[in-house]
Amino acid sequence: MLDYGSGNLRSAERALRRVGADVTVTSDFDAACEADGLVVPGVGAFAHCMEGLTAVRGPQLIGRRLAGGRPVLGICVGMQVMFDRGVEFGVEADGCGQWPGTVERLKADVLPHMGWNTVTAPAGSTLFNGLDADTRFYFVHSFAARRWELEESHAIRPPLVTWAHHGEDFVAAVENGPLAATQFHPEKSGDAGAQVLQNWLRDVVG
């Protein structure tokens, strides 16, 4: 689990241990590069997270892992930073640029989107394997990817995009080869979240 000064890592660490992972929390580039799987958590502001991430060479680290097909899981703002850029209160910041698109404020009556919501996962999803359509996950965020802009190509397997709705549709999870991410917090989503983490771990172990 990548430690770059973004909030509370304890919950995610414990949730992963609960499903059998051997977890090391580190900001060391080499250790994070060599792990079987890397979790990139994140809470708070997009620009602030990118600053912290950049300070530990996170974007290069993520890029290097993905180039080698090594699994990465982004959670909440840790998912948002995988996009090209984020715009919060007029402040625009570059993200890691793994996916095209901008993370923006949701159009909804009540924000933050705080609480348990359902998601619509595509057929063939690994992350949501074994979970019913009415399963709820814990979200807390005001910003999200409101569109999925990666163009389909014959060269790559099309990513699996999971959607949720709060005021409007937004991207709730992505499974794109070795890069997976969730906008919700699996570590705070009780047994449902544990199942998602376990599904990811199984994929990591192969």
């Binding site: 919950s11 414990r14 609480g115 709705h165 570590e187």
Partner: protein, 260 residues
Amino acid sequence: MGVAVRVIPCLDVDAGRVVKGVNFKELRDAGDPVEMAAVYDAEGADELTFLDVTASSGERETMVDVVRRTAEQVFIPLTVGGGIRTPDDVDRMLRAGADKVSVNTAAIARPELLGEMARRFGSQCIVLSVDARRVPRDGTDGPPTPSTFEVTTHGGRTGTGIDAVEWAARGQELGVGEILLNSMDADGTRAGFDLELIEKVRRVVDVPVIASGGAGALEHFPPAIHAGADAVLAASVFHFGQLRIGEVKDVLRADHVEIR
């Protein structure tokens, strides 16, 4: 489908022990907040709130330990309130495993504190707790406020003269991500939530509002949601086993409210 209304049990904790712990049959130690939290989780609570009512500041570390042990075994969101006065207090609780902290009296003394906390930790983890009471328009109980509700301190005993509805709006402006709205008039009466208070605050804020104070029967919950609350919080009715979380959810579901 949309985001579900949250049902949140609150535990009052004094020096690391649940106040007036009641022995449910599934509990070994009703005074242990960690064990109580696990029971609520198993019953379907959507979130947990600990309110630290410890009088002596020397015992504050005890609460940090309670939060740490709870976060070890409960995988739903946890909010901690009571005695949060500085950004460092927030930091300590978040590091221990809390997801949100609620701030009350300290923000009344210095509102900018809310902005400082929201900037450092993110709006999503700062909750403004508003203890509101009605003030008579005729001035017989202190100067009237525009909304007829004022902010109180000391468990509702001391008025501040600050308009409670304006204060909630101010909190949002300063960056808090949620309002915990406690009716001090309704608190302990078990006569139902103060719907007028909820409606008035709902009209001026667009962050989530948690309704608290007055829950005494199942039929009290749906009106609080229809008045505009995004979540309902109760302490004693759950604590004394008078109502179960599942029953509250059943009555909300029957009223076409989305629940988990």
